[in-house]
């Protein structure tokens, strides 16, 4: 059995047939995971320095040289690396007095931080399968982002206490701004809200819980939904990026709702983390510094919004990107600022970021070519075993070599 590192579900029931380095057949992989496995032989990166192909050792020693000379380096990415590589990354940040940030600062950071700090209750996905009878998918579309979420853990499977699965024992609501593919499955319990309407909906939900008339168009449906939520044995809220962006800076609203629901019954929150080990990096950095992202080691440990990739890309003099493609995914203005800075990129594949980097260090594809461990979206540790040999080092090995060469 192999583990899929296509998303943060880290499905560990994957069967793969291999012929040499070629994947011949896979079982149980969703289309997203299959894409990850298929990428084994497509668009792989090669070691480069200043656009010229070199040996891996030359690329590593050049990267170490650049990091040694940098005054204010930024180390970014980390969500697609194993825990072992992330640990090395934090060590490197300390050694080079760098700013370290991961994709959570532009993603689910606020919610993950609340979960890690214990401000809102959480549980594991196995608990959801066995006991989670009332689910709320909020601002997310698991069918597209985490295709096996509903079938493997949350809605469809039979659980220890929920033998009739979705047919009778489970109720799931979807709150979203658009009729996503998931809305086709949960069409009877789909609450469509206007963009940015999440806080108003929370107010309406709290109003019903306080016995007041909610300020929404369909008052009866809202009251019926809240009655169902109150009757749950174990409820779980899955906040997605939609909610994270809409409630940015106002996460106390979500906390107020979860606290209020917990007065009636047990409600947990599991953020729909995207990259396969974002939760792992957040947990490691939190254990090390007390913050989940946006940390500077320049003068002791400092934390703040000025150390997010968005701000730091304008002030840093070197960027090292590990397993991420910020030039493609960040807004054009920020990507342009980052592209002006000399970049070192560690990535198994060719991306827009590797194309614009001074130094490219190709790495093994974690979970397929390199082993280690990672934290699933609910914080459960999953071991990864390599199934194919790689000619390039893993992220962990490459970072160790850089650390040794500095």
């Amino acid at each position: 059995m192999a583990v899929c590192t296509g998303c943060s579900l880290l499905c560990d029931d994957i069967e793969v047939s291999i012929d040499g380095r070629r994947i011949t057949k896979t079982k149980n992989l969703c289309r997203k995971g299959f894409g990850r496995y298929r990428s084994l032989s497509s668009d792989r990166s090669v070691p480069k320095v200043d656009g010229k192909q070199v040996g891996i050792d030359a690329a590593i020693s050049r990267a170490a040289e650049m990091l040694r000379d940098a005054k204010r380096p930024l180390l970014f990415g980390w969500s697609c690396s194993t825990l072992e590589a992330q640990r090395k990354g934090i060590e490197l940040a300390k050694r080079t007095k760098a700013i370290i940030d991961d994709t959570s600062s532009i993603c689910q950071g606020e919610i993950v931080e609340m979960v890690i700090r214990g401000e809102i209750p959480t549980c594991t996905l196995d608990d959801v399968r066995n006991y989670g009878d009332t689910l709320i998918f909020w601002g997310c579309d698991p069918s597209s982002s985490h295709p096996r979420h509903m079938s493997r853990f949350s809605y469809f499977p039979r659980g220890e206490k929920l033998q009739r699965g979705h047919e009778e024992d489970r109720t799931a609501f979807l709150i979203d701004i658009r009729a996503s593919p998931t809305a086709k499955i949960l069409s009877g319990n789909f609450v469509q809200i206007p963009p940015g309407g999440d806080a108003d909906l929370i107010d309406a939900m709290l109003a019903v819980l306080d016995g007041k008339i909610p300020r929404v168009r369909d008052k009866k449906a809202m009251i019926a939904m809240m009655n169902t939520l109150k009757k749950a044995d174990t409820g779980v809220i899955f906040p997605g990026l939609g909610l994270a962006y809409s409630l940015r800076g106002r996460m106390d609203r979500l906390k107020a709702l979860v606290d209020r629901l917990n007065e009636y019954t047990k409600y947990n929150v599991i953020p729909m983390v995207g990259h396969y080990n974002m939760r792992g990096f957040n947990q490691l950095l939190f254990d090390e510094t007390g913050f989940i992202n946006r940390v500077s080691f320049a003068d002791g440990i400092d934390h703040g919004p000025m150390y997010s990739v968005v701000e730091a890309s304008k002030s840093c003099d070197l960027a090292m990107v590990v397993g991420s493609d910020p030039i493609s995914s960040l807004p054009a203005g920020i990507a342009k600022a980052l592209a002006r800075v000399p970049m070192i990129t560690l990535d198994p594949h060719r991306t827009l970021t590797t194309e614009l980097s001074r130094v490219v260090i190709p790495t093994a594809l974690s979970g397929i070519e390199a082993g280690g461990s990672a934290l699933r979206m609910d914080g459960v540790r999953i071991g990864l075993d390599p199934i194919v040999k790689s000619e390039y080092p893993s992220d962990e090995e490459a970072l160790s070599m850089i650390l040794g060469a500095i």
């Binding site: 149980n28 299959f34 399968r129 597209s144 295709p147 499955i185």
Partner: protein, 152 residues
């Protein structure tokens, strides 16, 4: 997906009974259920119905790959999410330690499996829709987010 009425519009509408059925409408229904072939309608092969025959072959082409139960999988639409695999009542009954609890199938008697990121139908004879005493179960189509599974 083509309907029996659309097929009927493309028959000669002679009710000649040469196919062994009483009416052209009955033939259209039998054709959709794959109990009859287009060639069983001999008048349709005459030159004057050439255009209708061509159109009928066109509309019948998408359902040519249907299983005995009428199941069609549109590979290009499938997400490989496995909702159908886990929701299928036969999969659950035949594979209580695998697909019933959300894992990959562990029994070889399951109907639906996900291979190479796309759902595949393995044992259509196990399906509730198979045979004359069929139940019109639709859990695999109802749980599909992308409408990648259809029944004829």
């Amino acid at each position: 997906m083509v309907s029996a009425m659309e097929i009927y519009q493309l028959t000669p509408k002679l009710n000649c009974k040469k196919c062994g059925l009483p009416t052209c409408m009955a033939f259209a229904v039998a054709l959709l259920a794959r109990e009859k072939q287009i060639e069983d309608c001999t008048p349709l092969l005459e030159p004057k119905y050439e255009a209708k025959l061509k159109k009928l072959r066109e509309v019948m082409a998408p359902i040519a790959g249907a299983t005995e139960t009428g199941l069609i999988i549109h590979d290009e639409r499938c997400y490989g999410c496995g909702n159908c695999v886990v929701a299928c009542p036969v999969n659950v009954a035949n594979d209580p330690k695998g697909s019933a609890i959300g894992l990959g199938p562990k029994s070889d008697r399951v109907i639906l499996v996900v291979e190479d990121g796309v759902v595949k139908c393995l044992n259509p004879k196990e399906c509730r829709r198979f045979g004359p005493n069929r139940i019109l179960c639709n859990l695999c189509t109802a749980t599909c987010p992308s409408k990648a599974i259809e029944f004829v």
